[in-house]
């Protein structure tokens, strides 16, 4: 199953509900184009819901880092929410918890954007 992303907005926060795999090829490209598209439309607060993403490989991790730097370069904020255990473990062993703002649930994530 490749990656699907559905965008919605809460206030000025763009939330993307992803499902599938973020892996080399199509999945990574979907993540990249979705985030770049939101930035080009003026969004600066982006929340990636990875609750239905069950698999990420090194290319997918690279794309997440790329999305983070893209958003930061546009003076925006990117946060992650609802990590599955495997994705959580992957982010942990690659030390990317020191990079990403990972939120436990959507309401906490929305509050953290508002308080920033």
């Amino acid at each position: 199953m490749s990656l699907r992303g559905t965008c919605r907005e809460v206030d000025d926060i763009a939330i993307i509900d992803f499902s599938g795999k973020i892996t080399l090829g199509e999945g990574s490209a979907t993540l990249r184009t979705t985030v770049r598209d939101l930035i080009s439309k003026g969004h600066r607060k982006i929340l990636l819901n990875l609750g239905d993403v069950d698999y990420i490989d090194s290319s997918g991790i690279g794309e997440l880092v790329g999305a983070y730097t893209t958003v930061r370069s546009a003076s925006g904020e990117l946060k992650l929410v609802y990590l599955t255990k495997r994705v959580h473990d992957l982010i942990q062993i690659t030390r990317l918890f020191t990079v990403f703002d990972v939120q436990a649930d959507e309401s906490s994530a929305i509050k953290s954007f508002r308080s920033a």
Binding site: G25, D57, G62, V65, T94
Partner: protein
């Protein structure tokens, strides 16, 4: 496939689809060998990273080159070879993706993940001079010298 003298060898094209194919093949073989769900995930991911390495960096996405995938068993270990037709490399040359200065790099985590998910990773020189990634994982239930099954 779990007998120590058996070996499965597959030649893959240098194309994106080979990444999923290699992962699926090794996961099926490992499943037959008795690995549990968590180990199957780790094995599959390590093989995926190995083939991505061969596809991207070894063979530089050159469709004229091949990737050789082999699975073999030693009495206590499952061994996977991923051989490309590139120029080879040394593990010592690979940058540490956990170093502060590399955390924001968008690539360079494949070797690290292979090491994290397998018991051992070695890089040898393949027959055409490319890299031969040798990934090893202890079998979940192997028979010890006294004939009694060992647990993991």
């Amino acid at each position: 496939m779990t007998d120590s003298n058996q070996r499965l060898e597959v030649t893959l094209d240098t194309q994106l689809e080979s990444v999923d194919l290699a992962e699926n093949i090794v996961v099926r073989v490992a499943e037959e060998a008795g690995f549990g769900e968590d180990d199957l995930h780790k094995l599959g991911m390590a093989v995926r990273e190995g083939v991505i390495n061969a596809y991207n960096y070894g063979n530089c996405q050159d469709r004229g080159k091949k990737i050789m995938l082999a699975v073999e068993f030693e009495p206590e270990t499952m061994i996977v070879h991923i051989v490309d037709e590139g120029c080879g490399f040394e593990l010592s040359e690979v940058a540490d993706p956990l170093a502060e200065e590399n955390l924001l790099r968008t690539s360079g985590r494949g070797i690290f993940l292979m090491r994290a998910f397998m018991d051992d990773l070695a890089v040898r020189r393949g027959p055409t001079g490319g890299a031969d990634l040798v990934l090893s994982k202890k079998l979940p239930h192997h028979v010890s010298g006294n004939g009694k099954p060992k647990s993991e």
